[in-house]
């Protein structure tokens, strides 16, 4: 199929439909409103349901209901709206219901501003709602990758029976890029399963429930969830390593910040500098071992630079990967400001031997 010029948000909407998503529930918020706007035109064309909920709280619980009925469904929002969804996310994870949630991050905290940011990293990767649950979190760095990751998001949600978050910053939602939809037409509906509430006539009753009052039973339930997250950590880690194999500075960045860092790295490599980028694509599970391997390949004393559109959140995962073997430097901006390729390059230069 030929390429088409799309805004990131629209492309995510189309990608969801092609992945087989048939229900969308959401509420508008900048900078992601084009996702519901696009889907409200397109979903009826494919026999799907688009519903603008009365709030994000309602939207995520509509997702809970639809997912419980075995429907491929999703919601999308931006930072403050995702905060409102925290309770529902915990219930979805607790009841092991597959769904996809897009967070097109904007500057926070509070109402913040409408410009891009990556400051919901903790929220995405460290629970968000209450309880011992985790989301699988995917972080695209381009519109094309966002499209490709949507298919993966629905597949992983179903495979792990768990919410999957596509976590991008407003820049990816708002920018235009040529994209190609590699899967033609609609993906498969959710596979036959033994848990969805589809009407119990002729079969035993099924129950979707997260209330486990007996502590032993609840503990066993938590253990089972943890085993699932551990399996995802073994099987689903995705990352990109870009640049020199034995760099003097290794930049760690994700999403838009990784793309900006690549511009800086390309400039420096043209000058003959040895630099590289480690880009986690799955923010959870985080590619600890792979990042550590990239660090171990560096000369002794070589530095690691974590760059984020936040005040420093992913840096804790980079430090976990290093386990004290490397000094981790930080460059970050928040509030809607974005470190430029020049700023990144200048900081790398200062760290080069």
């Amino acid at each position: 199929m030929s390429k088409v010029l799309m805004k990131g948000n629209e492309a995510l909407g189309e990608a969801a439909i092609r992945a087989g998503c048939v229900h969308f529930f959401g509420y508008p918020i900048t900078p992601q409103t084009e996702i519901p706007e696009y889907l409200c035109k397109r979903l009826p064309e494919v026999g799907g349901v688009f519903l603008q909920a009365e709030s994000e709280v309602a939207a995520i619980h509509m997702v809970y209901g639809a997912a419980g009925a075995g429907v491929k469904c999703m919601t999308s929002s931006s930072s403050p709206g995702i905060s409102l969804m925290a309770e529902g996310m915990s219930y979805l994870a607790a009841c092991e219901l597959p769904c996809v949630v897009i967070n097109m991050m904007r500057a926070g905290p509070g109402l913040g501003g409408i410009l891009p940011a990556q400051s919901d990293y903790f929220q995405a990767t460290r629970g968000h709602g209450h309880g011992d649950y985790q989301c699988i979190v995917l972080a695209p760095a381009s519109v094309q990758e966002a499209v490709d990751l949507m298919t993966l998001a629905f597949d992983l949600a179903e495979k792990y029976r768990n919410p999957v978050m596509v976590c991008a910053d407003g820049m990816i939602g708002q920018m235009m890029e040529p994209v190609e939809f590699r899967s033609e037409g609609r993906g498969p509906p959710m596979a036959g399963n033994d848990w969805a509430l589809t009407g119990c006539e002729g079969r035993p009753r099924r129950i979707v429930n997260s209330l486990h009052l007996a502590p032993e039973q609840n503990f066993a339930y938590n253990v089972r969830l943890k085993e699932k997250y551990d399996r995802a950590a073994r099987e689903e880690v995705r990352f990109e390593l870009y640049g020199d194999g034995r760099p003097d500075v290794l930049v760690v960045a994700f999403g838009t910040m990784a793309r900006i860092s690549k511009s800086a790295i390309d400039d420096l490599r043209r000058e003959g500098r040895r630099v590289a980028l480690f880009r986690p694509i799955t923010l959870n599970p985080w590619p600890y071992a792979q990042c550590r391997a990239a660090m171990d390949a560096m000369p002794e004393g070589a530095k690691v630079l974590d760059v984020e559109m936040s005040m420093g959140q992913m840096i804790y995962d980079v430090k976990l990967a290093a386990e004290g073997t490397r000094t981790i430097e930080f460059l970050g901006k928040a509030g809607g400001l974005v470190p430029s390729p020049d700023e990144v390059a200048a900081r790398i230069r200062a760290l080069l031997p």
Partner: protein, 260 residues
Amino acid sequence: MTAETLPLLKDDRLVMVVGNYGSGKTEVSVNLAIRAAASGRRVRIADLDLVNPYFRCREARRLMEAHGISVVVPPGAQAWADLPIVVPEVLHMLSPPAGTLSLFDVGGDDVGARVLGSLRGGAIATGYELWQVINPQRPFTRDADGCLAMREAIERSSRLVVTGLVVNAHLMEETTADTVLSGLAVAREVARRGGLGIRFVAVMESLADEPPIRAIGEPVLVMKRHMLPPWLLPAGEERLPAGRPVPLGRRNGSHGTYRD
């Protein structure tokens, strides 16, 4: 054929640029403003995009001001508010003094064009041009039917009439001469069926000298790319939010050129 032959630079006074999301209205508007200013016109441009949060012409404010263009946007931090603000200067722009060009960069689709409804009286009194930017690489305007449906929606919502077409067929960095030519073919059908003239074809400078482009047979606006994501901005400049382009005079003045 060069942009200096554009009718715009002779006697158009009030030009409003509309079109679907992502057709390239802002890139066209910024380039038009700079070109008109370079030809000696006094230019005021209003950022009337009330529906898009990023990549609006306010991001190119400093660049345009460096060309002597007056840029009308909400003051201070309000420029980054998620609010449909129309500042009073926009009303003054509806009756520009002799020799001044008033240019309105309007938001996308019929939703974005709705703001023009409130400016309708003044626009009609002055006499206006309402140009629809067409890019058939976009999903809802891939053919003449889509472009004509967009025109109808914009006219209904703005209560004004489209007076001309601007062909801006592109796929960002992946644009080729074929992209432009196939887009022009769609635009010609739109023009024929809609009874409209093609005002000009917008082409990035990297393609402008290719023989098929030179043979287009329509006025051409040769453009530089000013609305850039942060990783494509030229080196050597402090950057501002959402890829605001840089002022003139740095690094060979090569603002708007492609990086890579």
